[in-house]
């Protein structure tokens, strides 16, 4: 019997975290310049998601999923440990908004976060089935790990910091 939406376990994914589960979950997260890569195996009907803040680990400190190159590799590894096949995996990529409007002429952090996802997924041979990235607004996503369906809403108004719609105060960290 199909579980009712209210019965599906819910999980809020904080930055620097990875969520992979064999059973159906609704996973939500809020993205500014951060990026989430969602992976889904249609045959296994299982999915996983990460939420990273910066593109590359520079070797200092712990190799945590705060960094895209770590977060994507760990997410893929956990999906494979679950029994998923890399050949079947579909990726969806969200976030990477340039919400800081730094205007300093450098390659913006949001764009770099998206670029590392594209590069690494290509290296792993994982197809990006859908993406909504860039721009100047934050995003909120809700990922169903069984169906692979993702709902996405844009936050705030064009050119401003993302405001959270669920009543939580704005996070002062602009990287989230």
């Amino acid at each position: 019997m199909e579980p009712r939406p209210d019965d599906v376990p819910k999980h809020f994914l904080n930055p620097c975290m990875i969520f992979v589960h064999r059973q159906e979950h609704l996973v939500s997260t809020v993205l500014g310049s951060c990026v989430s890569v969602c992976l889904w195996d249609p045959r296994m009907a299982s999915g996983g998601i990460n939420h990273y803040m910066l593109p590359l680990w520079n070797g200092e400190g712990l190799a945590t999923p705060k960094y895209g190159n770590i977060a994507i590799d760990v997410l893929i590894r956990k999906m494979l440990e679950l029994g998923c096949s890399k050949e079947r995996l579909l990726a969806k990529v969200f976030g990477g908004g340039n919400v800081l409007n730094a205007g300093n002429g450098l390659f913006p952090i949001g764009d770099r976060n998206v670029a590392i996802a594209q590069d690494l997924l290509l290296q792993h041979g994982i197809r990006i089935a859908a993406a909504d990235t860039g721009g100047t607004r934050g995003r909120k996503i809700l990922f169903n790990t069984r169906t692979g369906v993702i709902l996405m809403g844009k936050l705030g108004i064009e050119g401003t910091q993302p405001a959270l719609p669920d009543g939580r105060p704005k996070n002062p960290n602009p990287f989230i």
Binding site: F12, G59, P165
Partner: protein, 200 residues
């Protein structure tokens, strides 16, 4: 001490696996920091190092919304580090205050201090000021890398002020955490649906 080192290994493994979840509650700083100091009392006594917590003298309790267990790991590592690199009979001061909605935790020692070169490496994994078979200091060199990762995980910052032979001061700033369930499935404005396969 074994328990403390194991906690660091578990904390590092949890952080690197992306499985460390913030458990934000209102935390009594005096309680957490006294507990951290108590857990290192034996080590401090063995070096006759005195640890003071001047912020407790006012008698007012300071509460702050953060992850108490992670704050404890941060504090234990910083205090342990301060004792480790203190001279026998030295003094370690633990300061805490809330400034502009940020928890400021500072651990200051009068120990051997850091050279500019060492300061740039102290947050690396398995890095210690002395290494090899003749090394004089305990631990695996994991503590400060765990501290830095935990601080960043809690949306904070860490800085080090130090001069060779004059001691060190590690200062951590933590932003206010959000107490309660963060999950929300309401969306404002336009909603896009990305189906079970191809782009929509």
């Amino acid at each position: 001490m074994l328990d403390f080192q194991l906690r660091n290994v578990f904390a590092a493994a949890e952080l690197e696996a992306g499985e460390a979840a913030p458990a934000i509650t209102w935390v009594d700083l005096g309680s957490v920091l006294c507990d951290a100091v108590d857990s290192l009392k034996h080590f401090a006594d063995s070096k006759s190092v005195k640890i003071t917590l001047p912020f407790l003298q006012s008698g007012d309790s300071i509460v702050f919304p953060t992850d108490g267990e992670k704050l404890r790991v941060i504090a234990v590592n910083l205090i342990d580090n301060a004792i480790e690199y203190s001279h026998t009979g030295g003094l370690v001061e633990v300061h805490a205050e809330i400034r502009d909605d940020t928890l400021i935790l500072a651990v200051k020692d009068e120990g051997i201090g850091l050279s500019d070169e060492n300061r740039s490496h102290i947050f690396e994994r398995f890095h210690q000021l002395d290494s090899g078979t003749m090394r004089q200091h305990h631990g695996q060199g994991l503590g400060l890398s765990v501290v830095k990762a935990l601080v960043e995980f809690l949306d904070g910052w860490i800085k080090v002020e130090s001069a060779l032979g004059q001691g060190s001061c590690f200062t951590v700033g933590l932003s206010k955490g959000t107490v309660g369930e963060a999950f929300g499935d309401s969306f404002g404005g336009d909603l896009l649906i990305f189906g079970d396969g191809e782009e929509s």
